[in-house]
Subunit: 335 residues, 2 copies
């Protein structure tokens, strides 16, 4: 089977040595990706965006992948600043303060009037707002509790495109239908696992992420919209590498690394559910429409041939490391 211009609409490439180690994984099979800005310090100026993009392109070493850059949302962004940076970014990412890796400088409280100057300007400039939607409540409730904030923002800024990132609950799926300007990304791991896989048998740090994998009925709701390639949902891996020692330590960091195997796992999943004909929309076409972007031409041919996932990718342990998955990448062509 062949995929045209696969897009990863939510990707962590990190920086420094980690960037060097893992950027090629995504660049190999994807046409482009939305790059998260939660570095230390977060990417929040035009110079930082430009410099980070350069470091990404250097780490990749070729031009057959487009990093779609984002800024780390701050309520202080004004229209003049946003106009000046508009051409360098594809979106702005909002983190509630302290909710996940390197999000300490995020938003506390969601007062519409406080956010109005920045969000109105983004709306006027057609800059989508990507949101990590979790409260600081009980871990299994954080996303469902955040839905009322999504709805408040969607109502207050009806022309602002709001992307509910890496959704994990039936409540977020339901919110998609209620507001025209709410969209969502879904990861491959949240389509495959529940909390049972993380903590139902032995504890599995490599499947531990934020938002945490939820209940079977939540996964079912995600599968329903993903497998039909609902026009408001897109693939976003949220592939989030940490060094092996940080994942396997006591007090392990959150994040699942899936970039090198995401397309293969999606092919296997969509085939299992007789939905292979919907994968192209989920992996690229929907995102092109939502973000109004034209991706770099790239064709990825997958074949149903077992692939043994390596134990590590340059010091990072991916999902299903050491296990066999059903699909392999056969060929990648450009232009």
């Amino acid at each position: 089977m062949q995929l045209n211009a696969p897009l990863d609409m939510h990707l962590h490439l990190r920086d420094g040595e980690m960037l060097e180690n893992i950027a090629k994984s995504s660049a190999h099979t994807f046409s482009g990706a939305i790059i998260m800005p939660n570095l230390v310090p977060p990417v929040s100026t035009k110079d930082e965006v430009i410099a980070y993009k350069k470091r990404i392109i250097k780490a990749i070493g070729h031009e057959k992948f487009t990093p779609y850059m984002t800024l780390f949302f701050k309520p202080s962004y004004d229209k003049a600043f946003l106009e000046s940076v508009r051409d360098e970014i594809m979106a702005i990412k909002l983190y509630p303060a302290g909710i996940t890796t390197n999000s300490e400088g995020g938003v506390s409280g969601f007062d519409v009037e406080e956010l109005r100057p920045a969000l109105s300007a983004m709306s006027d400039l057609n800059i989508p707002l990507c949101v990590h939607g979790e409260t600081n409540g009980f871990v299994m409730d954080r996303e469902a509790e955040f839905v009322s904030i999504y709805e408040k923002l969607a109502s207050a800024f009806p022309k602002l495109k709001i992307i509910m990132e890496h959704i994990t609950t039936k409540e977020s799926v339901a919110a998609l239908e209620k507001h025209k300007n709410l969209y969502a990304t879904i990861t491959i791991h949240h389509l495959l696992i529940t909390l049972d896989d993380v903590a139902g048998g032995m504890l599995q740090p490599h499947l531990f992420c934020k938002p945490i994998a939820k209940r079977p009925e939540d996964r079912e709701a995600l599968l329903q919209v993903a497998l039909q390639a609902h026009p408001k949902v897109m693939f976003g891996s949220d592939s989030a590498p940490h060094p092996k020692h940080a994942k396997e330590a006591c007090g392990c960091a959150a994040g699942v690394f899936t970039a090198p195997i995401a397309l293969q796992l999606l092919a296997e999943l969509f085939e299992k559910h007789n939905a292979l004909d919907k994968l192209q929309a989920f992996i690229s076409t929907n995102a092109q429409h939502i973000y109004k972007l034209t991706p770099l031409a790239k064709k990825v041919t997958l074949e149903k041939k077992p692939f043994k996932v390596p134990a590590e990718y340059n010091g990072v342990v991916s999902m299903y490391a050491g296990e066999e998955i059903a699909y392999s990448i056969k060929e990648i062509t450009y232009g």
Copy 2:
């Protein structure tokens, strides 16, 4: 404050080197404990019970602690066998097959007629049945789903004392009130933590156990019955040591080690809730009534003086390792 004859009604002492390393932790502060039989192979004959008890007493090195022995439940136990072993044991522990550490030989399906010979004989001989009550369902639902099995057994064998071990949910608390012959043990960690502490921030393998810590409202229900020392509930630590490397590895084993700090943590918790006057019943008197036992005389004096929990106890990392807790053991007297 002083506690008379503290009892731990659910304890894993393991075997071999681990037994040698950790048995003294419990024997130091407790008068006695119900010893779980899930060794490899499980303790299921009279000779095995006697031999295991000898190994425990040898590991402890003194006689100021009573190990109350248990057998690993098998449906094949008949009355003659149970009569022959009655004097060596305090209870029999039932594990659903494969549900936790070393439980592979447990019960599959809960057909009352299949279980009737063994459970009727236990009822006639006044041998309590201790149960690890979890189905193989979704990790957050396993205990609540098992409540119907508790109720079925309680109705079918109305004179059999059934102890719902290490309960973690409001559903189990509710079941206590519905059946005269249902009792429960509660751990200190399930009174202190929820899933948030295990997986809400970084992943905390040393707080990972089975049953997994549940939701805030579940902990609230446990606190309500523990802090009033409800006459049908007893303290059972479920202290379950694993070597440090097995807890901090990828795929960590389930179990929280609390034996050396259980009394101190209970004193802190009960004081915080103005319930110190109920701790004696929770830690000993209730168990004496339920099990009809007279514990070895031992008085433990605790004082409100910070205690820094060691990083390890002989290669085992306890709850709150390296942290400061509010109470210390001041003095232990016998007789």
